[in-house]
């Protein structure tokens, strides 16, 4: 009798550990913590974790440093996580840490900012560089009476020339401008390195150096509110087009007082949710090929695209590619109150 009970107990224990090994442990790593954009992505990720009944941890370095990210990756590997979803600061800088994680059997995905496609399974992308670069140009052009008439003076302002995603969008946007709006003259491209004070100072100088500027395009969460604040400080708000990418919460006052008429982004909360959903599928051993599509709660139907949509040559057979968020959002006075991130 005792023997029987102990057998059952042992069986239950074995089953129990087996079952708990099945619940995925997934880490969701931002470029840096403490920034509204990443915090919101992290909140979406953890929310999806709750929905799926798995363990999701949002954490990362508190300054944007590659070595900080490497430390976090190594820590998560040592703590026995099954999958890491990373917004990468540097494709090459993370290569070794990622390889080590993969050797230990972890699944690597990226979100927001990619690594080399050989180093990860899927990149959960906010949109291709073409989509986002075009969005930047469209948002500026839509605010002009006639974008093709007369000379327009344009400037760009973002964090730094080494940030992969922002740089790609800007290159695409500049290409579109050269081709479709040859009357737009790009007078300057300025950088503020994620520093809020610089994000106000540099455009202040730019506005004064170029008093006849028509539009400034700022695809960076710090650069856009900084530029809007600079225009407000100089009392020129509303006299030129200020647009770009940032989060609705920080931009709300500038949209409400007409300094910024329209700016764009994607729903980063959904991006977090989608990332965790896909990571969990892979942890459970599912195989996804280019062209497969599936439904994700709160997000909608998504499709697996080849790496080539982001301009890569490498393409793995299964579980390798890019999953795009279904839509991007343009925020205006009319819809901004529907968003809270």
């Amino acid at each position: 009798m005792f023997k029987k009970i102990s057998y059952i107990l042992i069986a239950a224990l074995v089953l129990g550990t087996f079952a708990s090994a099945q619940t995925a442990k997934i880490a969701f790593i931002p470029k840096l913590t403490g920034v509204g954009f990443f915090e919101s992505g992290g909140a979406g990720a953890e929310n999806m974790g709750e929905q799926l009944g798995i363990q999701v941890k949002y954490d990362g370095p508190n300054t944007a440093s590659v070595s900080g990210q490497v430390q976090y990756i190594n820590n998560f590997v040592n703590q026995g996580y099954n999958a890491l979803v990373i917004s990468s600061l540097s494709p090459d800088g993370l290569h070794q840490a990622i390889s080590r994680a993969q050797d230990k059997g972890l699944i690597i995905l990226t979100w927001d900012s990619d690594v080399n496609p050989q180093d990860r399974s899927f990149y959960i992308s906010q949109g291709t560089a073409e989509q986002l670069g075009r969005l930047l140009v469209t948002m500026a052009a839509d605010q002009m009476d006639d974008p093709t008439a007369g000379t327009k003076k344009i400037a760009f302002h973002y964090s730094s020339p080494t940030v992969t995603d922002q740089n790609q969008w800007t290159v695409v946007a500049k290409g579109i401008i050269a081709e479709e709006y040859p009357n737009w003259e790009i007078v300057d491209t300025i950088f503020s390195n994620n520093d809020a004070q610089k994000a106000v100072q540099v455009p202040t100088a730019l506005f004064q150096a170029n008093p006849d500027l028509d539009a400034i395009i700022c695809p960076d969460a710090n650069a856009l509110p900084g530029t809007a604040q600079a225009a407000e400080n100089l009392g020129i708000a509303g006299k030129l087009i200020i647009t770009g990418f940032s989060t609705p919460n920080v931009m709300r006052p500038y949209v409400k007082n007409d300094t910024v008429a329209a700016f764009g982004l994607w729903d980063v909360v959904k991006q977090g949710k989608l990332s965790i959903f896909v990571a969990n599928m892979l942890v459970n051993g599912e195989q996804l090929k280019v062209g497969d599509s599936f439904d994700v709660p709160d997000v909608g139907t998504v499709e697996v695209s080849p790496n080539s949509v982001q301009g890569y040559e490498y393409q793995g057979e299964v579980n390798n590619g890019i999953i795009l968020l279904p839509e991007r959002v343009v925020f205006t006075k009319d819809n901004i109150d529907n968003f809270d991130f």
């Binding site: 403490g34 508190n62 520093d195 106000v200 100088a205 150096a209 509110p225 407000e232």
Partner: protein, 335 residues
């Protein structure tokens, strides 16, 4: 050399101001928009956060110490300001809480340095981490956004076309300078920095002087936080990050001696103005943003080098002059 010019060149403050003037004129040759009063006023306006932090840092450097937590205190005070405002506190109360935070944070450094005898760099490096950490805890890790308009309004107030904050900061710098020249107890800081043991033997309260230097640094960092919040309009978790080094650079540039005992608030303020102006000039000159840091660093080195050469040659001339006069007196005796 004319005596007046000599004394101008000997004062680091005026030399840097002179070089700043030259830089402004030469930038103006390339882009005349730079010479408009508004551009100069905006550079002044942008430099205020750094200026206030640098003046605070000056008190500590004068005592032969160093405080690398000043920018973290600015960040922490800004978070206190933003959080209390968003909780619906009246602005006067929120400002008081901000200033109290700065004074308290400075006093913690002061206790560590004066009573626990922790070396200043270690103490303030420690509190740098603690204050940055506290910032995150208070703010819950994300930016402080949606600040009420009343904190942003003072930034738009202008008298005679010059922003209110510029007037206020100039007043603070001038009053601070006057106090540190005329008020006997303020001279204690210089005495302590020049020779702490000597000051002690003269009956100067060394500990109290050191204590007030670090506390003042905290107070000025909090004032900087108020200007920062008003001008930027949102508070990110890396607010004022890196300003500790810029503030030290501004002090050195403005003639505050790292060996203690020498320096003025006006000097620190001019140093801050110079550092800020360099960054804005690069935009006016259309220098590609990629090269910003390299250019700013190079110009800084150049200024310090010019200062060093001018000083050396003046010293040499003085020695020469002295040697000559001694020669002549000597020969006089012999004859």
């Amino acid at each position: 050399m004319n005596k007046k010019l000599k004394s101008v060149l000997q004062s680091r403050e005026l030399l840097v101001l002179f070089l700043l003037f030259i830089l402004i004129i030469s930038t103006g040759l390339f882009n005349s928009n730079f010479l408009k009063a508004n551009s100069i006023i905006e550079i002044f306006n942008t430099s205020l956060t750094l200026m206030l932090i640098a003046v605070g840092e000056m008190f500590v450097i004068i005592t032969r110490g160093i405080d690398v937590s000043v920018a973290a205190i600015t960040g922490l005070s800004a978070v206190v300001l933003g959080t209390t405002l968003n909780m619906g506190w009246p602005i006067a109360l929120a400002l008081l809480a901000t200033i109290a935070t700065g004074i308290l944070a400075g006093a913690v450094n002061a206790v560590g340095v004066t009573f626990l005898k922790v070396p200043p760099i270690i103490m303030t490096l420690g509190t740098l981490g603690i204050y940055r950490g506290l910032m995150r805890i208070i703010a819950g890790g994300s930016w402080i956004e949606r600040l009420p308009q009343n904190i942003k309004n003072p930034n738009i107030w202008r008298f005679l076309d010059i922003p209110f904050f510029v007037w206020l900061s100039i007043a603070i710098v001038i009053v601070t300078s006057i106090i540190s020249f005329k008020y006997k107890k303020a001279r204690y800081l210089y005495a302590v920095g020049d020779n702490a043991n000597g000051a002690f033997l003269l009956g100067i309260p060394v500990k109290l002087s050191l204590f007030s230097a670090y506390t003042l640094a905290g107070l000025f960092s909090a004032l900087a936080a108020i200007v920062y919040t008003s001008q930027i309009g949102f508070i990110s978790m890396n607010a004022a990050d890196g300003f500790e080094l810029k503030a030290i650079a501004a002090c050195v540039l403005g003639g505050v001696g790292l060996m203690g005992g020498v320096g003025t608030a006006i000097g620190a303020a001019i140093g801050a103005l110079f550092l800020t102006a360099v960054r804005s000039m690069l935009v006016f000159l259309g220098i590609p943003g990629i090269l910003d840091n390299a250019f700013a660093g190079a110009i800084l080195l150049l200024v310090v080098y010019i200062d060093y050469r001018v000083r050396k040659s003046l010293e040499y001339k003085q020695i020469q002059a002295r040697a000559q006069s001694e020669d002549s007196t000597n020969t006089g005796v012999n004859q």
